[in-house]
Symmetry: C2
Subunit: 410 residues, 2 copies
């Protein structure tokens, strides 16, 4: 009898009625002969309410105590979902992170899972019971409660699936799968039957928002077959696996986008050799993520452009200006409110000219590209914010993402 791990996010558990829906989905899996481990997040707005309480106490809560506080959110969900399952006749056992054997490094608020001690879960599954485990949380070897940070529940689900050698890890969410683009912006977008880990990683990192990149990476490293599907509708989702079933001529698999991006340029870097590393280690030391980087050299000076989130702009300028003497540069300029549009597809590797086609499409439609970044399976450009949506739509059309028939098995 195979084991499946099913993860439900907070919006799929925001009311007791939704919790009952989640229970029905789990029971459907059991009726298909599966052993089920459910992994759950905190109910809907619980985390926000807990953050508000902490905010009333202090502006600088200790990280350890935030983990202690936030971990209660999933503990409420696991007990309620277990009650719902038992009420429906499927005996269930809830487990907190520490009870489920989720061992993490000794870091608060953003710990990584270092081990999963699955013997307790396996014993309960053998007894024919369903497990409802708390996502997002774990415990250190010396008994401290930790949380995994953003995307933590997805990661818990994948880690448990890997440890239990589950045949599948289903991520149940508000959408019915992974789409070729965001349907709110690109009405022609359609659901993909399958996608590779690497493509999903690029999409996840590019703001597609369905699955956290950490979880995708964990799944790839442990060959866990992932599925993204609706928590409420009974529709087939998107499967993420090593070799996604090839779709006819589908070189580009998706168009992703992300807004609120700032392009920052450091002019007149004095030292070509140490300048780059000084700038980026200063930013990294302040937890500012840098995305696209372009170095340009004129006869007289070296300039360095890079993209960051709008929200990090002020801090980035401050920390660089503070280190101006040691880094050695002339001045900084910023352009805020930009957007990034990306095409993703592992077929690009073997199909030259994809980037060229992308630039041609943008040019034909009068869309100026302000920065470019490429990897083996994606091309990203920064454009003005108001051009994000038309750029995505034109690219979606040009690469025929909306009209192609899928050949993947249904």
């Amino acid at each position: 009898m195979g084991t499946v791990v099913i993860k439900f996010g907070g919006s799929s558990l925001s009311t007791t009625d939704k919790i009952k829906n989640a229970a029905r989905r789990i029971i459907a899996e059991k009726e298909n002969g599966k052993k089920v481990v459910a992994v759950v997040s905190a109910m809907g707005k619980t985390t926000d309410q807990l953050l508000t309480l902490a905010g009333e106490i202090t502006a600088r809560p200790a990280k350890r105590e935030m983990d202690m506080l936030l971990a209660t959110g999933e503990q409420v969900s696991i007990s309620l979902l277990s009650m719902a399952l038992t009420e429906m006749g499927a005996e269930a056992v809830s487990l907190t992170g520490w009870q489920a054997g989720i061992i993490t490094e000794k870091v608060h608020n953003n710990a990584r899972i270092v081990d999963v001690k699955a013997d307790h879960i396996e014993k309960i599954l053998q007894e024919g019971k369903t497990i409802v485990a708390a996502g997002f949380q774990g415990v250190t070897e010396d008994g401290e409660i930790t949380t995994l940070g953003r995307g933590g529940s997805d990661t818990t689900a994948v880690a448990l699936a890997a440890a239990l050698k589950a045949e599948r890890c289903s991520i149940c969410t508000d959408v019915t799968g992974v789409f070729t683009s965001d349907p709110r912006y690109v009405p022609q977008a359609r659901k993909l039957a399958s996608i590779s880990y690497d493509e999903m990683l690029e999409l996840a990192n590019l703001g597609a928002g369905v699955l956290h990149p950490r979880a995708v990476e964990f799944a790839k490293n442990h060959s866990v077959s992932l599925e993204v599907r609706s928590s409420s509708e009974n529709e087939k989702g998107t499967v993420i696996e090593e070799e996604a079933s090839m779709e006819k001529n589908l070189i580009v698999r998706g168009v992703a986008f992300e807004d609120d991006i700032t392009r920052m340029t450091v002019f007149g870097l004095k030292n070509e050799i140490t300048g780059l590393s000084s700038v980026f280690s200063t930013l990294a030391a302040n937890q500012i993520d840098v995305d696209i980087i372009i170095q340009s050299q004129t006869e007289n000076e070296t300039n360095l452009s890079f993209s960051i989130k709008d929200k990090d702009r002020q801090e980035a300028v401050e920390v660089l200006e503070k280190e101006k003497g040691s880094i050695g540069f002339d001045h900084i300029e910023c352009e805020t409110g930009l957007s990034k549009v990306s095409i993703v597809g592992s077929g690009m590797v073997s199909n030259p000219g994809v980037a060229a086609k992308m630039f041609a499409v943008l040019a034909e439609n009068g869309i100026q590209s302000k920065m470019v970044s490429t990897s083996e399976i994606k091309v990203s450009v920064l454009v003005d914010a108001e051009q994000m949506k038309p750029a995505a739509q034109h690219l979606h059309d040009a690469f025929e993402l909306g009209v192609l028939e899928e050949t993947a098995s249904k």
Copy 2:
């Protein structure tokens, strides 16, 4: 440096402002040179909110899952109180029941503490930090989360005080101490400087409601010096210890009362020998607590009267009628809506005539006693509900509880 344990109940933690007040009280103890272990309940209405959620899922929640759910309440409190303490400069560490080493028997919803593994707490106290431990909850030897039932947080506090050999266990509550009677009913009631464990046990069991009898009993068995005091006001409370400082002529130490009581009479018990045990084992098997018991025998038949809570009346009648054949009786009659008034004082043992004086006071005031029960240190009578308050006031006056000077050290 001595250790003190301070317990805060839910109403002392119902808002973040009250949590800050609790933190100030703890810091005052630290400034007096004490190592402090705080024990907390869930914030205000948290438990009710969690019960409502569970009620929306099922009318018959699994007991294990209720413990899992309710244990989140104290976990929120411990993290917030720790944050408040750290914010005020007193570094604090929150501990759940399992982290605090509160080991219980393997019973859900009403577990007893079987061991306290205090080495982790002692290590943290040695580091100069304050502990904020979750009351009401524990863990079994095999890692199941349990709760202690009513009065659980008081019991946690006393158990930790015993394990840590604390010099005192302070129960911070809404009132400033233990009173000679309930001031809402008996305006002349005044606070006692001290009271013995046994007296407090009788008062607690008789509905005084300040301290849970389980906690008092635990304190007595482990010689923990208990104090009941206000969580907000800086007033001296009442000390509960083995030999309470004697107060001048204070034979009776308090007048307690309780309403919503039913007197039930089983008429015509067929078998005098097995009848009693059949009736009470049937009630016990259905978790119906019996208080006062009177057996009366006429020439022809044996009748059995006993008092129970009004809320248990219907179930009591049902379970007894169901066993009518095996128990063997004629019929049952009930009188509901009665009240119990009791006088308590360890001086009674060596002062005969206290009960006689009580009956005389009641008779002089036209109050009929419907059932009587005595122990070495208390006398209880059942009266009509509307006579509870006058009975308490007359007894309080007659035993001069309001006017006596305390000779106990201030």
